[in-house]
Symmetry: C2
């Protein structure tokens, strides 16, 4: 018998909780025996939802919680004060080692603050970025950071590039992942103050495959594997992709329905169209992990339904198998060996610029 992975699931977070969250969890355990779900939330509500389905009862545990954290309240205060909330209790279970991962569709801010405060960052990690996979023409790219750290500094972005590279290499299986920074032109001299300061750090960093700037128009083409940006821009990119895809699908449908010829054509083309658009549906790719923590924390969309919940649960299995946060921990905990740091000046070996430990190469 394989060792079970226990997922702490925030049953109270998101627009469709607890109904769709419970449904997704039930679907997951009905498909796989090697998962245990540990719900955190109002036990009466959870039991009421569970009663609708058949499922292996030994794969479910419930911890009753009496508080909820809403999107309107200050994440920092909520995490500190609402000790009996599904969010705080769930995160603590990961910290204590009782659960392998925590998933929530609740307040992004609370997940981000709670993850960093309650689960804790790996030593050497300055900030924990939220890193979703986004669909592209070629497959997927990692967008890092996407909501955790507004007003980030250059040294944070450098670490995001390093963590993102580890993720793409080990979880997605991309060898020597191409790293690019979001910019408003391709030339090195372009950009705002943050990008101009970050660019040389990325260029000098020996353990990433930095390819330069990426303009937003090239993101959907999949020309970079790891797309580095600060959280505000990252969030705008993620949400605009989501919104524009939905709008285009809507207007294409309406456009086709406006003529008989279009209607017939649309019906015939529907299966192919559906297949294509499915590939561009971000919810197919599960949730976004908060990288660089001492445990696994995954944020799923506030509007997540059963499908997204189930996908995120399965995604946690790959994260666990690949031990991704452990790899990040190792990278940032390791001291820098002088010969590994490219472009460094003689005599600066003791104190790398911006105190970033670039560590040794992951691969040749």
């Amino acid at each position: 018998m394989s060792i079970r992975t226990t997922i702490a699931l925030d049953a109270m977070g998101g627009d469709n909780a607890p109904g769709e969250i419970v449904k997704g969890a039930v679907e997951a355990i009905n498909e796989r025996k090697d998962i245990k779900i540990h719900f955190f939330g109002d036990q009466d509500k959870i039991r009421k939802e569970l009663a609708k389905y058949e499922y292996p009862a030994d794969q479910i545990t419930i911890t009753h919680t009496t508080e909820e954290i809403s999107c309107d309240e200050s994440p920092a205060i909520a995490i500190k004060k609402k000790k009996n909330s599904s969010m705080v209790m769930g995160l603590r279970s990961v910290k204590a080692g009782d659960c392998d991962a925590f998933i929530s569709a609740g307040s992004s801010g609370a997940v981000l603050v709670g993850g960093q405060v309650l689960v804790g960052k790996c030593r050497g990690v300055k900030r924990a970025p939220l890193a979703p996979l986004i669909p592209t023409e070629k497959g997927v790219s990692l967008l890092i950071d996407c909501g955790a750290n507004v007003d980030a500094r250059p040294e944070h972005l450098l670490q995001f590039a390093q963590m993102g590279s580890i993720y793409m290499e080990h979880v997605v299986g991309v060898k020597k992942p191409k790293v690019a920074i979001v910019n408003i032109g391709e030339e090195e001299a372009k950009g705002n103050a943050l990008v101009k300061e970050t660019y040389p750090l990325l260029k000098e960093c020996s353990d990433i495959n930095f390819t330069g700037s990426i303009e937003a128009r090239d993101i959907p083409k999949g020309t970079a594997d790891v797309i580095v940006t600060e959280a505000f821009t990252g969030n705008v990119i993620l949400k605009l992709m989501e919104g524009l895809a939905a709008t285009l699908i809507h207007v294409i449908k309406e456009g086709m329905m406006s003529s008989t010829r279009g209607k017939i054509g649309g019906l015939l083309a529907k299966p192919a169209l559906k297949e294509t658009l499915k590939a561009f549906d971000a919810s197919e790719y599960g949730g976004a992990p908060l990288l660089g923590l001492k445990g696994l924390v995954v944020k799923i969309h506030g509007s997540s339904k059963a499908k997204e919940t189930k996908n995120a649960i399965f995604q946690c299995l790959s994260f666990k198998e690949e031990n991704i946060n452990e790899k990040i921990r190792e990278r940032f905990a390791r001291p820098v060996k002088e010969e590994e740091v490219a472009g460094k000046q003689e005599g600066t070996g003791d104190k790398p610029r911006h105190s970033i430990k670039t560590g040794e190469r992951i691969r040749v």
Copy 2:
């Protein structure tokens, strides 16, 4: 006979110059008698292109220029030093009043710097934003700023909101245009430092219809008429919309071509699809004006072809008719009347916060 509008056209700027630029100009004057085109560029190259077409010769003038400004050079230095470039000569012709408007597909940076330095900002205008119309489900929205001013300050964004409102009201004809600021959540407390500082200024400003934050996913829905953001984010939004629309169209086509059923359906649906996608083609909406200058300067996409050039020329006619920069000039030159500034503290009437002159209401 109507008075002719003279357009200074940078024949050397952009990826398809001078061929497509000349072609677009010829198409424009063949359609309308009330336009004169004043080309700035290499006269031999322009004449060679012109020789391909039939057109009313009295609607064309050429000023020979010997220098070109490329996208790789520093805009500020190029504008200062290349006095005989098509860009500098064209902009000077607007400043001198010889031409009514200047259009260029060349270096964005040079157009922005040149516009502000050579044509000059209206009194009271701190920065001149680049403001393209973007397609939405409901029609168009104005995205302001989109590339002119990275690392903008709150008082700049406030002026962008005011200028954008004047533009949408007078050029596009939207009464009481809804103004929103790009943010990563809807709540007032969300956002980076710039947004958090700008939000209260917009809220207090009495001459705009501020509706709060807009998340990027809602931009394509058209929920706001004037979308305020700093240039880096604006540029990312504009280019991502462009890139994602192109990618989706590409993958939809490929998806349809992968099966016989899809192929037939696709062929039947093609006219409807084409019509729909045309509505989402940003190039249909002409170029982006640089608002708040003493003359009209319009930037068109570097990859612009004849169609975009022609549309931008026609767009200049509406700008001239509506006298948009004059309206902006009037707004910012007017002294603030105390009762017009909402939310102001007693005794602060002499020196409005951030020295922004909100002026009187445009409409009730």
